[in-house]
């Protein structure tokens, strides 16, 4: 791809970007959110048209005007949002062989037996075990992704784009993915790998291209650079400290949970004190999100007791939790955390309206003032508070999702993977914000599968495995290796 330029309603998104992938190479494409990675890839896959520039394959210029063109040229993409690429009502087998079914020259009936057999074979080739007759809507997130990978590879792909493929995967599943990538690589496939997780980039990628503000900053061999260097290229400034941890004196217990159980959670005790940040870590599927939702009243609990400041609380809905002073920043930001069609202002006021609308009438002056104040405090990058949240970048959306709780009188703040899909700049803003909350004597529960992150900010770390807390580690004591040991079932 040469000299690619793309504007969105006059705003430049890409400014003369160069990018190349060799056959049999894993090439990482890095950049903070909004750097232009997705736009560039959408041009390559035919979702967008470039304003200027050219794309050539094996030395020949090609025109990619539609996703069909891209597929015909052997360019496949494994998208981050797996649900948009799969058909939930069809079986695993049908989804894997979808393009064959669609473009099949054979007339007449579908040969189900060979369909199932063939897809079974493909999955086995990768060492996956997903029942091929199962409907895709019953699959887990990581299974869906594996199906997408399988689909991409059956079509003689020459180039495969992986867009944040490990985000929904557990470590074990990620490792299997890396094996698959290695298989593809040795088969001569060119791989473009987009991820926010630097360690895995250094593990599997041959070369790295870093983008910033719609421009390519540097392309380099992986062995010729370091994580610190990569981060400073992404940010355009040197990255002083990743985890600005504020030391806060820890006070009285606020939240005490005993033997709570529900779907995927089997008897968990948790205690959070004033000013304390408790990290709950575990691999994907360990039950972290489920625990958070139980504590928030979002899912029904089967047993257990929740005490807040010594008093037992009964929660049958998130409303009860919010009233009691427990709030949650959920994992699925766009689906659960924000209102994309509403303004920044309306998003930020949703939880506090009742406090300053005594007769049911919204005091618009207070609302705007509060919104402006929060936007400034949280560092939300937005033109003004009337902007629709859907137009903000992922990191800024997350700040808004957090911001709605800041002015409530909540005493317990829960964060479920708050930095997922968030660029590094916004990440440190979020860490800082959490530190500020701790300083205000709030109790923090921080659910994450990013071990390093939790080691960086938490006072105490609870390791979850199969719905139970298997180990408690204190700050300074925990290492990534240790956490991994317990999180993968070590005794």
């Amino acid at each position: 791809m040469k000299g690619i330029v793309k504007h969105f309603s006059g705003v430049p998104a890409l400014q003369s970007v160069q990018f190349e992938v060799k056959a049999g190479e894993v090439h990482a494409l890095l950049g903070a959110n909004g750097a232009g990675k997705s736009t560039l890839m959408k041009i390559l896959t035919g979702a967008y048209q470039a304003d200027e520039g050219s794309i050539s394959i094996d030395g020949h210029d090609v025109a990619i005007r539609s996703p069909q063109d891209a597929k015909a040229l052997g360019i496949q993409c494994v998208y981050q949002e797996v649900d948009t690429a799969l058909i939930p009502y069809l079986s695993v087998a049908e989804n894997i062989l979808l393009d064959q079914l669609v473009s099949s020259k054979k007339k007449g009936l579908v040969n189900w037996q060979s369909l199932y057999a063939e897809s079974e074979k493909i999955l086995q080739g990768f060492g996956f075990s997903i029942p091929v007759k199962m409907l895709v809507e019953q699959c887990t997130l990581s299974e869906k992704q594996l199906i997408l990978i399988a689909r991409a590879t059956v079509q003689q792909a020459k180039y495969v784009i992986f867009d944040e493929p490990t985000a929904p995967l557990s470590t074990k599943e990620s490792e299997r993915l890396f094996q698959i990538i290695a298989q593809l690589k040795s088969a001569g496939v060119g791989i473009i790998y987009i991820s926010h997780r630097l360690p895995e980039i250094f593990e599997i990628c041959d070369r790295i291209t870093i983008m910033r503000d719609g421009q390519g900053v540097i392309t380099t061999e992986t062995t010729a650079t370091s994580m610190d260097e990569v981060i400073s290229h992404m940010l355009g400034k040197s990255f002083a400290e990743e985890f600005p941890k504020v030391e806060v004196p820890i006070g009285e217990p606020i939240l005490e949970v005993q033997g709570i159980a529900g779907a995927k959670v089997h008897g968990v005790d948790v205690r959070v004190r004033e000013g304390e940040i408790v990290g709950v870590v575990g691999l994907v599927g360990a039950g972290k999100t489920e625990l958070a939702r139980l504590l928030f009243g979002a899912d029904p609990k089967e047993s257990g007791e929740i005490r807040l400041k010594g008093k037992p609380v009964r929660m049958s809905s998130p409303k009860d939790a919010v009233d009691a002073g427990i709030v949650l920043v959920p994992e699925e930001r766009r689906k659960e955390g924000i209102f994309v069609e509403e303004s920044v202002k309306n998003n930020l006021s949703v939880a506090t309206l009742a406090n300053w609308s005594p007769l049911g009438f919204i005091r618009k002056g207070i609302e705007s003032r509060q919104a402006k104040d929060l936007v400034q405090k949280l560092g939300v990058k937005t033109a003004d508070i009337g902007q629709l949240v859907g137009f903000l970048s992922g990191g800024n959306q997350q700040k808004v999702a957090i911001g709605k709780w800041v002015n409530t009188n909540a005493s317990i703040f829960m964060f479920d993977e708050p930095t997922k899909g968030v660029d590094i700049g916004a990440k440190s803003d979020i860490y800082r914000l959490i530190g500020t909350l701790a300083e205000q004597k709030k109790g923090i529960l921080y659910f994450s599968c990013e071990f390093q992150e939790v080691i960086g900010i938490a006072d105490r770390i609870l390791v979850m495995f199969e719905g139970k807390i298997v180990k408690e580690l204190s700050r300074g004591q925990a290492t990534q290796e240790q956490i991994m040991y317990y999180a993968s079932g070590g005794e």
């Binding site: 969105f8 309603s9 006059g10 928030f296 979002a298 809905s317 998130p318 409303k319 939790a321 919010v322 009233d323 709030v327 949650l328 959920p330 689906k335 659960e336 955390g337 924000i338 209102f339 994309v340 069609e341 509403e342 309306n346 949703v350 939880a351 309206l353 009742a354 609308s357 049911g360 009438f361 919204i362 618009k364 033109a383 859907g390 137009f391 709605k404």
Partner: protein, 332 residues
């Protein structure tokens, strides 16, 4: 800040409906001098007053991300029941008002129960209710319209008649403004203020905007969805009573055509002044558009059976614009 580029579509999207109303009115006034007279204009407003009530109900169900197909049947039900209270049972103000209102609230609660509690998709649940309520109103009226001195099943004549205070609601005037027009303005103003300036109104929009995010923000979403369905049925029920008052009979199946008009008005309203979401003021403008078109077509002596073509086309156009805009927004 850079200057925003002028987009023809955006302009048409925002002001198109109002422009069409103005153009159509100009055309009709040129072809018929009577069109642009006070009498005719109040006539148009009077004719749309009932549809506006029903359409505001539909707007509420749209706001919470639902849909209420049963409003037309609810209109039929309360028309017949309020008429029967006076004509069959010689009841006074209390029963004539309370019983139809209570019935429409009940319809709303059943809708909410099916959609919110049992979780049947809104279109299907309210489709079922459309038939159930319609059947109840037919059974109750035995298929006959209810009017003063009507023959009863036992051969006698109906004992009661439409009371003058009731008819005043539909036919009276205050300072030569028709009462139903005043009631419509009142309802538009009250619901507009409620939805725009109160916390409950905001919560209704939030619930419709993203149900799960609203729930996880501590909003009692099921309560607000229930409220929306109850209000939808209530406004439809009030519309039905107003209809009985206007024509002075309890016309059977009179609400059937109301659904279509109300839905069209609500969807036309999406785009008015670029709101991009269901809103009462827009719905009112949508109702005016439909009223003006029907009035003009009547004057042009178009056959009434052709009206549905126009109304359907208006709905299709409104939907096309709404969804086109939605797609553009998603892309951006």
């Amino acid at each position: 800040m850079e200057v925003k580029k002028f987009s023809l579509f955006d302009f048409v999207y925002k002001y198109g409906t109002v422009a069409v109303i103005v153009i159509v009115m100009l055309l009709f006034s040129l072809t018929n001098p009577y069109f642009f007279t006070y009498d005719n204009l109040t006539d148009i407003l009077r004719s749309i007053s009932i549809v506006t009530f029903v359409a505001i109900g539909v707007t509420f169900s749209l706001i919470v991300g639902g849909f209420d197909l049963s409003v037309g049947s609810t209109v039929s039900l309360t028309t017949v029941v309020s008429a029967s209270m006076m004509v069959w049972y010689e009841q006074g103000v209390v029963a004539t008002f309370i019983i139809p209102i209570a019935l429409s609230l009940l319809v709303g609660l059943v809708n909410a129960f099916l959609v919110v509690k049992i979780r049947i998709p809104d279109l299907l649940a309210t489709l079922a209710m459309l038939y159930i309520v319609n059947g109840i109103h037919m059974t109750y009226s035995k298929g006959y319209s209810i009017y003063a001195n009507m023959p009863m099943a036992d051969g006698t004549t109906a004992p009661g008649k439409f009371q003058s205070w009731f008819l005043w609601l539909g036919q009276g005037e205050i300072l030569s403004v028709p009462v139903p027009v005043i009631l419509t303005f009142l309802l538009v103003a009250i619901t507009h203020v409620y939805l725009t300036y109160t916390r409950q109104g905001r919560m209704l929009y939030m619930t419709g905007g993203n149900l799960e995010a609203a729930r996880l923000s501590g909003i009692p979403v099921n309560r607000y969805r229930t409220l929306a369905y109850v209000l939808s049925a209530l406004f439809a029920g009030l519309g039905g009573m107003l209809l009985a008052a206007r024509i002075g009979t309890g016309q059977v199946s009179s609400g059937g055509s109301m659904l279509m008009d109300a839905v069209a008005a609500a969807f036309v309203g999406f785009s008015v002044f670029g709101a991009g979401k269901p809103n009462v003021f827009g719905t009112f403008v949508g109702a005016i558009l439909i009223g003006v078109l029907l009035n003009g077509m009547t004057m042009l002596n178009l056959p009434y059976y052709a009206y549905d073509i126009i109304k359907g086309a208006v709905l299709a156009l409104a939907l096309a614009v709404t969804y086109y805009q939605l797609r553009r927004k998603r892309k951006a």
